[in-house]
């Protein structure tokens, strides 16, 4: 544990640079900017669909997509994916490889840093986005209820819970962001270790093909993605997404199993990804010597 913490704090200190701070800011600002733009420019209109519940559902779904999904993917991509490749490229790998269990400590330590960096940026973004961009406050609630009444709803009061409950949404999104950061960091750590020569490119390609395409594909294959589990947790933890949940198609892209089951699935994925990364560094021969330097 002493060694893992040593790598963790050392790496944490190393990433405290202006460049990294800029990217941390980008990751944190992304959900805030999207939600503010949505609040300002998306016109829900007077049509029937523009109920308070619809607004809160859309807000919740979009926030999920930009924060625990895109921001976390981006954060993990920047920190976890190049973890091994960067050590090999700058030839610093060997100093760690000749320490007792040095590569194990390196992988776990860097993984923890990636989780911390990604989760802190995304959680910050979520908190600010919910504070600034959510439909809330007495005026908003009143307006929303009035709007609901105008649209001949049978029971306006029933719709009120559909208004964003900041505490609940924040809590759900923070948990999802943390789980997402843990899962994507482990995934990218594994890909970056196994395919260290084109780590970033491969991680982006994998994310697009598997997590963003297959993850939304209405077939059994989507159950093997992180997105499937996170999405299922979103529907479990946010009543705001209930309206969306009732769509027939959603049954195919999310599970109705308990939150505990989903978390266990995610933990299993994380353990598997890290195990593959750790086995890979133990089994493979990484040498920093240049090719001519035999």
């Amino acid at each position: 544990m002493n060694s893992i913490m040593a790598v963790f704090f050392f790496e944490l200190k190393r990433i405290m640079t202006r460049g990294r701070a800029f990217w941390w800011g980008v990751v944190a600002t992304f959900p805030v900017a999207i939600m503010l733009l949505m609040k300002k420019y998306v016109d829900f209109g007077p049509q029937e669909a523009a109920t308070p519940q619809t607004i809160s559902t859309v807000f919740t779904i979009v926030l999920y997509f930009v924060a625990p999904t895109i921001s976390c993917m981006l954060g993990a991509l920047l920190t976890a994916a190049p973890a091994v490749a960067s050590e090999l490229e700058q030839h610093s790998w060997i100093y760690l490889a000749v320490r007792p269990n040095g590569l194990f400590h390196l992988i776990v330590g860097k993984y923890l840093v990636a989780v911390m960096w990604t989760a802190s940026a995304t959680v910050t973004g979520v908190i600010i986005a919910v504070s600034l961009a959510a439909v809330d406050g007495p005026a908003d609630v009143t307006a929303a209820v009035e709007q609901q009444q105008r649209s001949n709803s049978t029971d306006a009061a029933e719709m009120v819970p559909g208004i964003i409950d900041k505490g609940q949404v924040t809590q759900a999104m923070v948990c999802l962001s943390f789980l997402s950061a843990c899962a994507y960091s482990a995934l990218y750590m594994m890909l970056g270790t196994v395919f260290n020569r084109r780590a970033m490119v491969l991680c982006v390609a994998y994310t697009a093909a598997v997590e963003l395409f297959l993850g939304f594909f209405p077939a059994v294959i989507n159950r093997f993605t992180i997105q499937y589990r996170l999405r299922s947790l979103l529907f479990e933890w946010t009543p705001q997404s209930e309206q969306f949940r009732r769509l027939d198609l959603v049954d195919l892209v999310a599970s109705d199993e308990s939150a505990f089951t989903q978390i266990m699935w995610l933990m299993s994925w994380i353990a598997l990804f890290l195990a593959i990364a750790l086995v890979s560094v133990q089994v493979r021969e990484f040498t920093s010597a240049s090719e001519t330097d035999v």
């Binding site: 002493n2 060694s3 040593a6 790598v7 050392f10 200190k13 190393r14 640079t17 700058q90 030839h91 610093s92 790998w93 060997i94 100093y95 760690l96 490889a97 000749v98 320490r99 007792p100 269990n101 040095g102 400590h105 133990q282 021969e285 990484f286 040498t287 920093s288 010597a289 240049s290 001519t292 330097d293 035999v294």
Partner: protein, 318 residues
């Protein structure tokens, strides 16, 4: 497993696809200091990577301190390694870097910090240890690398080209540190392609070329081996054609040529198969014939030629 040997290499071969890094290497070394000498591309780095467990031999067995080095954490506590390339974190200070590497050896935070400071001071980095490594000169980086290798007091210190890039003062300081290290009873393996760098540290050599162990022993043993090996010699002489003729008559040279020089006497370039005999007889040949000789030198004193000669001996060629 307890072993009297520092290193045991049993028919070790390492292939990189079709390229041979190390070729059927056999050696058994008792604890002590050894110089691993060979030209660039000889297989020194591959051998060191095999010793530190970074590579797995394609054939054969490697044992260091009686243990197989691959993924052996208990052995890694006893080995200090200083690679030939830099690989340092530019923005980190030397002190932080050595400290974290010590902590990876299981040393507690405060103890690691104190030990790192001590080792950096030992290699002459007292003033600069808290500065970012990016501000270090090449020599300072080499010294920092040495500090991380010796900080955990390993039984065996393995150094790959530690003098590379050092100025003469830096070399002398590094030599002092390493001599002090070996005098304290620790073992050392130092790889280099420069003979005199190693001579200052040890009298035991392993000569390696083309991935093969060509010769081993002390400097005098190696010199003896090379004494009668084929070589090329240049002699600047007042009567070059007569000298060439005399050499051929006495069968001291198998071929000669005279090359004019812009200043001074012309040069006789000769090839001999019996260098030892030539060196013995050349002075009398010069005085008997009344030649004036202004310069005699080996035309092929590069290490690569020396190794080519050894390689030919190794293959049984003349």
């Amino acid at each position: 497993m307890k072993s009297d040997y520092l290193i045991e290499l049993d028919h070790v071969t390492k292939l990189y696809a079709t390229v041979i890094g190390v070729n059927d290497f056999n050696a058994q070394l008792k604890p002590g200091a050894y110089g691993l000498l060979g030209p660039n591309g000889a297989g020194k780095s591959t051998l060191l990577n095999l010793l530190t467990g970074q590579l797995v031999p394609t054939r054969g067995n490697v044992r260091v301190l009686g243990q197989t080095p691959r993924n052996n954490s208990s052995l890694m506590r006893k080995i200090g390694f200083c690679p030939g390339f830099e690989g340092l974190y530019a923005a980190t200070s030397g002190l932080d870097w050595v400290t974290v590497l010590l902590r990876l050896q299981g040393v507690r935070r405060h103890a690691a910090r104190e030990r790192a400071e001590h080792c950096l001071a030992m290699v002459g980095m007292s003033c600069a240890m808290k500065r970012p490594i990016s501000t270090y000169s090449r020599g300072m980086r080499q010294r920092t690398k040495l500090a991380q290798a010796i900080a955990h007091e390993p039984t065996l210190l393995i150094l790959d080209e530690p003098f590379s890039g050092l100025d003469p003062i830096g070399r002398a300081e590094m030599t002092d540190v390493l001599n002090d290290w070996t005098e304290r009873g620790h073992s050392l393996i130092i790889a280099s392609h420069v003979l005199h760098e190693i001579e200052a540290l040890t009298d035991s050599f392993l000569l390696i070329c083309g991935g093969r162990l060509l010769a081993s022993g002390t400097a005098s043993e190696v010199n003896e081996l090379l004494f009668d090996s084929p070589s090329e010699i240049e002699v600047d002489c007042s009567e070059p054609y007569r000298l060439a003729s005399a050499l051929m008559e006495r069968e001291l040279a198998v071929s000669t040529s005279v090359e004019p020089t812009a200043h001074g006497y012309d040069t006789v370039r000769l090839r001999t198969l019996r260098a030892g005999q030539l060196w013995t007889q050349l002075p009398s040949l010069i005085t008997d014939n009344g030649f004036t000789v202004t310069r005699v030198r080996s035309a092929d004193d590069s290490l690569q030629t020396l190794f080519n000669s050894l390689l030919k001996i190794h293959r049984g060629e003349k």
